[in-house]
């Protein structure tokens, strides 16, 4: 479900994540809604998955719409870890 180099963004509510997905798709950015893995979210949250290479563009788009994610994770060598909420985490 999540590959190395993927980013996982969590939002405050299911409606906000829907809003984010719609906005990004409209802007031609590639992303996908997935169930948030249990390491990062309690309960049954949805998360937005995208490639690390898209992060800058995606954060710019979300920032412009005042829709910042609540948390961000990256997968590296099979491990998910929390990242700072900036448009770049290289």
């Amino acid at each position: 479900m999540i590959a190395d180099g993927d980013r996982i963004a969590l939002f405050n509510s299911p409606t906000r994540v829907m809003k984010a997905e719609k906005l990004l798709r409209k802007a031609g950015l590639v992303c996908q809604l997935i169930p948030a893995p249990r390491q990062v979210a309690e309960g049954c949250a949805l998360a937005l998955r995208f490639a690390a290479t898209e992060q800058t563009a995606i954060f710019n788009e979300l920032g412009a719409a005042n829709l910042p994610p609540r948390r961000l994770y990256g997968k590296h060598q099979g491990l998910l870890s929390a990242l700072e909420l900036t448009s770049e985490n290289e």
């Binding site: 405050n12 509510s13 299911p14 409606t15 906000r16 994540v17 829907m18 809003k19 997905e21 719609k22 809604l33 997935i34 169930p35 309690e42 309960g43 049954c44 949250a45 949805l46």
Partner: protein, 389 residues
Amino acid sequence: MAIYLDNAATTFPKPESVYHALDQTGRHLAISPGRGSYSLALEAGRLVYEVRETVAEFFNIPDPSRVVFTANATEAINLALFGLLRPGDRVVSTTMEHNAVSRPLQVLASRGIEIERVPADTTGQVSAAAIREAVTNGGKIARMVVLSHCSNVTGSIQPIEEIGPWCRQQGVLFMVDAAQSAGLLPIDVQSMGIDLLAAAGHKGLLGPAGTGFLYLVEGLQPTPLIYGGTGGNSASPLMPEELPERLECGTLNTQALAGLQAGIDFVRSHGLEQIRRHKSALLEQLFFGLSRLPGIRIHGPSQVQPQGGLLSFSLAGQDPSEIGFLLDVEYDICIRTGLHCAPDAHRNIGTLPAGTLRVSPGLFNTAADIDALLRAMDRILCAKSTISA
């Protein structure tokens, strides 16, 4: 086929596109939205989000997540009033309200909330000046003004575009019951200073029964009316802080919301002006037809003043319920008689306890329907006068 003239209660029939949306969504996507993350659930979630966007665009609501879906206008009104008002608050309302507003206010009055009801004139019209005075009167500025945009008894249209911006200036919450006006009159929550907008989806917006919504301006955070599952954040023992989930728990009616979307699309494609022109033409025809009847009294604004999509009347010496009964059983014509769930409004216009006969044409009614009603009225009155003579 029956002639249905009770569209103020709920619109019927709906546009074909609404039936199509109900059928297609029911067959292919009647899935719980925002629950589960399989593709169909996501698709249902996207559909519901789109309906939220459509509602937001239609009323110039800046953020779709401030649109909370409810089962009808009544639930939306209860959600706002019980969720926000606290003991010690003062609320200004009017004597023209539907029970959906006046009954919750009555309960709140017994919980230490002060209610002031501004009287309307005999045609059902409330003045903005009287509202302003009531807000600032009483030693303490009111916390909220709540009133219906358009009366379901007289069709009177209240000057919300005047009251709202003034309330905003004063820091008073402004709540509008748009049950009768949504889909008939233009409503712009931003320019009209509306903080809370409650509407039915099943009336002028042409959606199916079981739809309605409440809009809440940014910053308002009412306590929920009901508590339960919201999809995300399930591990928390508390309701989420975010809207709409905080106020929208339990399975949403995806199918009905798809119908609401089709209804609003229909309204948008025809335009409010054309819709209003159609209804006004039928009401005018009715007004002039009725004016010839002996003992007729038409309640509400005169034809020259703006009015909503209905006309209320009574006949001297006649029981409205009997006329309504005869129209139904002998002529297959459905109109509404009695108090229309708004006894305060009838007290205000002097039609208690019998109430009035109310005719509310829909988009699909024609001049022939109004002619049929007028002919039936003639015959009923003629027969009654022969019997009593």
